[in-house]
């Protein structure tokens, strides 16, 4: 079966909710990265076979955001595009879709990526308000209209915040932070452990920017519609993050017994990422030098109330499909939804009991070596624009594997609603 080659990729700066990119539409963010990938790789747009974009909450004015943003980016009209949704793994799902199309021989060249503008996720009207409004518009006599108009109460007008809605799992009733609390308690992960991990993330992102490691994967946004008009860097990381400062924060999701704070959780963020993927043989014939190849992937379901353990379910699947073991992996990007959740995975990966009870394996999956984990930081400092993160992990992984000359790398995330996603990248 044809192998998928990663030619190049790029992302926008990841910027905090309601800051510099708040007035840029999600479809524009995605459009920018698609256009930039085209410009950087110099691909003839006529050769593109498909565009796939992952998005957690596609905007109401562009439900198929992939198509809207592809056209904005100058992808020719005959090139089809579709949007995929797998919550936090939407951006990885987009890459997977591309791989499958290439393996099936349905495509040679695919642009895949992910986007989320959490600043632009709308507020909703309460159902009670909606009901009254509908009956008002249907009312015939003036008397009837007045009667309905008089029935509105102040609480009908309070908005329902879309972001909060999206980050709460309807099935188990917990929001994402609460699922992290479940893990923290189950695996006895302390506040200090979590805060230490968060500080590490901020330090690593800061160091990476200082060394210019992110420069290559982050494009400059020229925003004529607002201030500042030039956006070049991520803004979520705090260069002077200390344990003391983090210790002052109150637990947010369980105020009495909790340990998960906004400081050791990922941030709400706006951002997009895209990559150019090709059939390996085609890439060579066209004179491209692939940066890496997709070796395998895996998606698994797990209990929604401990959704953070997703990687521990998905990674072994991808490893098995690749015929590899954890010890073969030289670099790992594990999405930092919550520090507690990352640490819980560290425990689960090396636990024989976890492997026996949940995976039907006699041996543990294998240690996660901190020295090769999220070496340039992660979502706690960079932020987690839901749909974009899956692509961002693979992009960051590929660039760092190139620098370190690694053979195998793993990108993996937990997925709200109880899933795990994992992808193995190789460079040979």
């Amino acid at each position: 079966m044809p192998r998928t080659a990663i030619i190049d990729g790029v992302r926008t700066p990841f910027t905090k909710f309601n800051t510099v990119q708040k007035d840029i539409k999600a479809s524009d963010l995605a459009g920018y990265v698609i256009r930039e990938v085209i410009e950087r790789t110099g691909i003839n747009t006529g050769k593109i076979d498909h565009v796939v974009i992952g998005c957690g909450g596609p905007p109401a004015d562009a439900p198929n955001i992939a198509r809207t943003s592809a056209l904005k980016a100058g992808v020719p009209v005959p090139v089809p595009a579709y949007t995929v949704q797998r919550n936090c793994a939407a951006g990885m799902q987009a890459l997977t879709e591309a791989c499958m199309m290439i393996q099936l021989g349905h495509a040679k060249v695919v642009i895949a990526g992910g986007v989320e503008s959490m600043s632009n996720i709308p507020f909703f009207l309460k159902k009670s308000f909606q009901n009254k409004l509908t009956s008002l518009s249907r009312a015939k006599s003036i008397w009837e209209k007045l009667k309905i108009a008089a029935s509105f109460r102040p609480h009908d007008f309070s908005p329902v915040i879309g972001v909060v809605l999206g980050l709460t799992d309807t099935y188990c009733g917990l929001n994402m932070g609460e699922t992290a609390e479940v893990l923290a308690k189950r695996y006895a992960i302390t506040r200090v452990q979590q805060d230490e991990f968060a500080v590490r993330s901020h330090q690593r992102v800061t160091a990476a920017w200082k060394k210019g490691l992110y420069k290559d994967e982050v494009m400059t946004i020229f925003n004529t519609g607002g201030k500042p008009d030039i956006i070049m860097e991520d803004n979520g990381h705090r260069t002077d993050q200390t344990m003391n400062a983090l210790a002052k924060l109150k637990p947010y999701f369980d105020r009495r017994f909790g340990t998960v704070t906004p400081g050791n959780s990922s941030q709400l963020t706006d951002g997009a990422a895209a990559m150019l993927l090709m059939d390996e043989e085609y890439a060579r014939a066209e004179g491209y030098t692939p940066k890496a190849y997709v070796r395998s992937w895996g998606y698994a379901g797990n209990d929604p109330s401990t959704m953070g353990l997703g990687p521990a379910f998905a990674a072994p699947m991808a490893l098995d499909r690749a015929g590899l073991a954890m010890k073969d992996i030289q670099l790992i990007e594990l999405n930092e939804a919550f520090a507690a959740q990352v640490i819980a995975n560290e425990v689960a990966f090396s636990s024989k009991k976890f492997a026996q009870e949940n995976l039907g394996r006699s041996e543990p999956i294998g240690e996660i070596d901190r020295d090769i984990l999220n070496v340039n930081g992660g979502a706690i400092a960079l932020g987690h624009p839901i749909g974009a993160s899956g692509t961002r992990l693979v992009l960051t992984l590929t660039k760092e594997m190139e620098r370190r000359d690694c053979r195998y790398g793993l990108a993996t995330l937990c997925v709200g609603g109880g899933q795990g996603a994992a992808m193995i990248i190789e460079r040979q």
């Binding site: 459009g31 920018y32 256009r35 930039e36 085209i38 410009e39 950087r40 110099g42 691909i43 003839n44 904005k72 980016a73 100058g74 400059t220 020229f222 925003n223 004529t224 008009d229 030039i230 070049m232």
Partner: protein
Amino acid sequence: MNLHTSFEITETGVAVLKLDNKDASLNLLGTSFLKSFNETLTEVSTKPHVKAMVICSAKKNGFIAGADLNELAKINTAEDAQKAARIGQMIFSRIADFKIPTIAAINGHCMGGGTEMILACDFRLAAKEKVGIALPEIRLGVFPGWGGTQRLPRLISLRNALDMILTGKEYNALKAYRCGLVDKVVPDDILNEYAVQFAEEIIRTKGVKYIAARRKKARGVVELLTDKNFIGRFIMLTIAKQQILKKTYGNYPAPLLAIKAMLRGLSKPLEDGLDIEARLFGEAAATIEHKNLLHIFHLHERPKKQTGVDSRVDLIKPQNIGVLGAGVMGGAIVQLLAYKDFPVRMKDIAGPMVIKGLKHAESLFDDLVKQRRLTPLEKQRKMEKISGTLSYDGFQRTQLVIEAVAEKMPIKKQVLKEVEACMQENAVYASNTSALSISELQAEAKHPERICGMHFFNPVHKMPLVEVIRGANTNDKTVAIIFDLSKKLNKTPIVVKDSPGFLVNRLLGVYLNEACLLAQEGYDFQWIDFIVKKFGMPMGPFRLIDEVGIDIVEEVGRILGEAFHDRLKTSTLPANIRQINLLGKKGKKGFYLYRNNRRKAANPYMLKLLPGSRQENNQQVIQRMMYLMVNEAARCLEEQIISTPQDVDTGMVFGAGFPPFRGGLCKWADNVGLKSIVETLRDFKDLFGKRFTPVEYLINRKTFY
């Protein structure tokens, strides 16, 4: 059935008359076409049972393109012109006199005589997307002579008619509907089918509904005062006349004659009005201004048939275009490209520059939105064509790079070297420069043959001229590609051989230099500006220096001075002013003071520096500046910098605003008489110096053309 027009009669009694000029791709109203049309009208009128007539076009690309200009050009006397007007009027009056209702189904452009034809019909339908209706005669130095000045004000009110006739601007379907010029706007694809249905409706109802609607549109207070009232009309037309005189200094006779035709004709029955119109049309058509403006029209159309080179070359169509430099020029060029839907990549070395370029482009698009020439959505789509960058990423996929960096040769060379490293083998490179040598730029290039100059004039979106500069090593393909691109951008290109100042700046250079010398001789510079404006230039020389920028004028002056030091006496004025840091309009201070981009008053400092108050020898002052340009143009032709006098006139009219009614510099010189110009130059040589020595080319020829 005859040559250009045919008709069918439907079962319901609707005669559908189709216009299809077999001699041209468009429906041009030439003699043979009109004859054929007239005969068809006779045939239709003799058919029994015909209850309505629809006139439509069989051409996909428009309704009627107007009169045949070649025939118009052949008319020399007022009597012949009057006769020609009478013939057209007579045919169109036949439509108006039809007892049955007549309906025009306008499917696209409807110009000049075409508009006058539809005015003679009882009802007009317009296709929604493609229709453009105009009476552009005024731009050719005449006015509508086939009933336009009489029927239009009677239909859509005097106020609206004045707007159409005096500006020549095009009305789209919606605008035409709003003012009552058309009765209904119809989706393009069903126009002709619907026209028959519409005719059937009119047969049934007599169209009372539409006539009432039309009346309602032309019934405001102003209309009440002007359309039925001689005094109101007199006042409105007098105001219009004064405005025109103020703007044109009386240099254009046609609008004044059009106003006269309306003033006299509208108080009389239509028949008498048409008589007056035909007579005045004859007067307008016999003027030299008309001939000159016709010449300008041909200059404007000329590039359409040209490629810019003698050999046949295969053009590449650029898919992606790179622009280097995001300054005022870069931003404006990018906007122009994006407006024409080319994907553009704009690079500059600093983020703030890129954003400035993007914002400049956006502001130009915003202006178009304000003028309703673009919808906000279209603007967005066009802005998305542009992407900014700080690196050369993306330049490897461009087929064409336009460079608009700072006007410094070392910078231009550096940038060229950098971009050549990543350009495609067959991509071409155009440098936007107003004075630097393209041949010198080519000297260190990897592929000198694919490099040429592309001189846009500032402001880019307004100035129609592009000088395509051919360097010593530029090949035909490169010139042809840039020539073709200029046309695609709706510009009027001329090919100019690389030499100091190219064409336009070289001519303007000697002109501005002479103006400065005059001021230094003690002539009042404000007065010079005034008489030059009266001559017909859009602004006087000192206003122009402020507009262009004193630094740039000085730079160009220096280059010209060095190149032509043996004969040119360079004025020290620009260099002196530059030393004291006056920049002109962009720095808010030059010869004049500016606020909010508007001229306020003469700069007191300049009045002190140039205290001269001479206001005499009006004619001689003009001649010194203009004849020097004529002499320099002759030298350019002698040196084969350009190949024809048409090139000179195109350059001067579309690039420097030389008065169109004078037909361009060479045309004007021909009208004055080269012999008398040479004599005057010889006199000037004795009086003012050797720069006035007439060149051989001028001495040896009777005329430029």
